[in-house]
Symmetry: C2
Subunit: 496 residues, 2 copies
């Protein structure tokens, strides 16, 4: 019960120092969680010598012929030749489609590429998404992000057209014309991979779309789906933990309304600086639970870590003490918590635009571990319009890519996509979880988390993720075998 | 044998008065031939009351979020409800995708729609292509066509996105959410129809792509294919006719070089005004032969008409007299010929831009009934750049839509497209003439001409075109039956 209405301007990142408040709760859409967390899977290794960087002169606007549209910018892609079967061998190309971040980390993180290259003799290609990293149009990053006039070219249709151009160029340059291309992506990048196979079947033979919530548009998936899975994840680990969290929101609110209540919260949670409003704390917690559920990877299992701390805290500390114990356990030993200074990342800035233009995912919460939090499209549009001067196009993703009745539409159309998911990942609820046809396949694990299958294999990996990866490799092998048979037949009997 | 090199600036239309010379020979890409020809199939009937006109507020640029991209313009579409099964009946929608002309004539010409609507209980929708007819962005047609800055939005990707928006709107407005949509188009419109099914399978269940030369890009089809078919058409009708035409070019040239040679040609061909250069005559003839072959419809059969006149002319008149007799027979009884005054049509103006931007079809002639005429991409690009200030993107069509190795690419991807052709149509050589899979089907007739199958059925139609249309209707019926079975099953067992 809240005495004041839940303030609808909340954050989707863990810290608040310089991040603009957003009227929505879009959790991070990336294969990996926050880098600075000690349980993150990001290994800070320098890329090995096997990786070679190239730049492609990319067209600014593929779908327009105004003189400005012809402007080009250097787009980065990175190639690993180490395992490749070589020119004219028709050995496969694995292409990782970059998402809403610089491509650098992906070289180390996306183990699916390097772990499997050797058995496929595959050429590995990693392509950076436009407007991220070193692939920024206009004179500078500042200029590119200045306003809607320069941001207008920053969208998924242009991005996958970029990928088509680069992959056709790579095939030509490296004499790999008949090499089957398998595109791989995770989260937003997984959506791009599945859309790429659907829109450019002449460029990619197949796609591995890991944890791609491509049905989380236009209310295909119920708005409260994401947070209902977060709730389920916590509840399955511990009913008492779930209960504690559920009742904590009103307690925070009640304490905050008391004289010196905010100072008490500062002490209790060891904040780095005094919190100005209770929503700052609530928002932090909200995001932490979401992130823990989404990136609930082995062996750390952050949901378990949080709940163990909450359940194990001395009950003399009350609900808030338990919640604080959860925070400390999740974040590890730090000098302070909640509002640590943090700079905006490229992902923060870029995804804010992308979700305010076309990647509009209506996510709300409704009667679960979290207080009710509606998604109001009108508010959201006004907010985005205020930020950029242009409103979102909330129906465009389903107009261009489809999604409604996907089973009916694709059961006799398209082929060779793996939709992989881990069901503990709250975004999995917006993914494809059932086979659509013999070649549009859903591969999921009950205990898997966001993009776990495409991360680097690890000795501590549980059997079920090892099996999931093997299944995916087996499916891709079958596509490629069939393709080679088709190719041989085609070359012999070419009629046109 | 030519004493001077063949001048590369030639026309692709029958008359020259105000049409800018083009360095290429792209024959007309429309379901019907020149309207003013007496054997044209266009019936000048006013559209019946069954047709109701609507306008949709269309977005200027679907793939860009600059503030200007959000501008809207009224796009015309015309609906015929007469045969429709009604709201919530899931009766089919036949959607004719407009091509490079105002939509008006299509209502009477595209008989496939009206002839078959009754047996399908189909709703008929005709959508006008952006920048034609009443569907022009910006303040006026003049403004829209002013330069590349306003023409830049005039391309096929934007056009099919328009169609997706309108068809989704129509389904919603007329409560036809589960109505299967069959898109139908001819020539360039046929390419749009096949591309639409490939890019928007969630909007259209299937496509009838009549006489769509979608492989005439990027040298997939040999450049000389078009004119080699024209040659074959004439030769099959009459070897002597073919011989006469073949030798006429050098005779025209020789006469033109003599004193008063051009006046002699004026007299011989009854020109409307003195021809300035021999190429004016040569170009006219060239286009006439191409057009006669392409639109060699029953019962008129213009190739036969021309050849009968050429072969039947008194030999005392020599080669040129025979050629002139062919012109008179083709054009009918007029007061003068060759350079009749003629205004540029919307198609002339619009297609010039489209072929100078993305629809670059390299067509040449090489050692057949016509003198050699190369297609030089460099010249062509310079020419287009000179006209519009932006160069063509000759590889974009195959990058976005594919085409290379189409059989290999699509044999396990996509479904429900009929590629129909008449093999007498020179453009058929750039079409899909072999089945790609069980549901990507080539339906062609040996004696058919350009888009004949989708024109109005007629008592004089030969059996083979009647059969072709029946085959097409049968295939579409099978798609729809299968879809209804899928739909029933889907509604019962919906899993997501």
């Amino acid at each position: 019960m809240f005495s004041s209405p839940w303030i609808p301007f909340l954050l989707f990142v863990l810290s608040t120092s310089v991040v603009t408040a957003l009227p929505y709760r879009f959790p991070r859409l990336s294969p990996i969680g926050e880098k600075f967390l000690h349980h993150s899977r990001v290994l800070e290794l320098p890329p090995s010598d096997d990786f070679k960087t190239f730049y492609y002169n990319q067209t600014l606007d593929h779908f327009n012929y105004r003189p400005e549209s012809y402007t080009t910018f250097p787009q980065r892609y990175i190639v690993n030749f180490k395992y490749w079967g070589g020119a004219n061998s028709s050995a496969p190309i694995f292409a990782y489609l970059g998402a809403e971040a610089p491509i650098d980390d992906d070289l180390n993180v996306i183990g699916f590429m390097t772990d499997n290259a050797i058995q496929f003799n595959a050429l590995l290609v990693y392509i950076e998404h436009r407007y991220y990293g070193k692939s920024v149009p206009f004179e500078s990053r500042d200029e590119a992000l200045r306003n809607a006039s320069t941001l207008g070219y920053f969208n998924s249709a242009q991005a996958i057209a970029d990928y088509a151009n680069i992959l056709m160029h790579v095939k030509k340059e490296f004499r790999a014309n008949y090499s089957p291309v398998i595109v791989i992506g995770g989260s937003y990048g997984g959506m791009l991979a599945s859309w790429f196979r659907l829109k450019y079947p002449h460029v990619a033979l197949g796609a591995l779309a890991s944890s791609a919530p491509l049905l989380y548009f236009d209310d295909i998936t119920p708005q409260n789906g994401y947070y209902s899975v977060v709730t389920k994840d916590f509840r399955e680990v511990s009913e008492t933990c779930y209960e504690t969290i559920k009742k904590s929101w009103s307690e925070i609110e009640a304490v905050a309304l008391q004289p010196n209540g905010l100072s008490f919260l500062d002490q209790e949670f060891k904040t780095c600086r005094p919190i100005g409003r209770s929503f700052e704390l609530r928002d932090y917690l909200w995001s932490m639970y979401a992130s823990a559920a989404q990136y609930n990877h082995p062996p750390g299992y952050p949901v378990t870590r949080i709940c163990d701390a909450i359940d194990g805290a001395f009950s003399v500390n009350g609900t808030l003490g338990k919640i604080a114990a959860g925070v400390f356990a999740y974040r590890g030993n730090l000098s302070c918590y909640i509002n640590e200074p943090r700079n905006e990342t490229e992902t923060d800035v870029g995804w804010r635009w992308q979700s305010c233009s076309e990647m509009v995912m209506p996510i709300s919460s409704d009667d679960d571990m979290f207080p009710p939090f509606p998604f109001d499209l009108g508010n959201f549009s006004r907010y985005c319009n205020g930020l950029y001067g242009v409103p979102p196009r909330p129906h465009w993703a389903t107009t261009y890519y489809g999604g409604h009745d996907i089973q009916l539409v694709l059961q006799r159309f398209g082929s060779n996509i793996i939709f992989s998911n881990g069901l503990k990942d709250p975004y999995s609820i917006g993914g494809v979880l059932h086979n659509i046809s013999d070649t549009l396949l859903a591969v999921h694990t009950t205990n898997g988390s966001h993009c776990l299958d495409i991360l680097k294999a690890n000795e501590t990996d549980p059997e079920w993720v090892v099996t999931q990866r093997k299944t995916e490799v087996g499916i891709i092998k079958a596509w490629i075998s069939k393709y080679y048979a088709d190719l041989a037949n085609y070359k012999q009997n070419k009629t046109f």
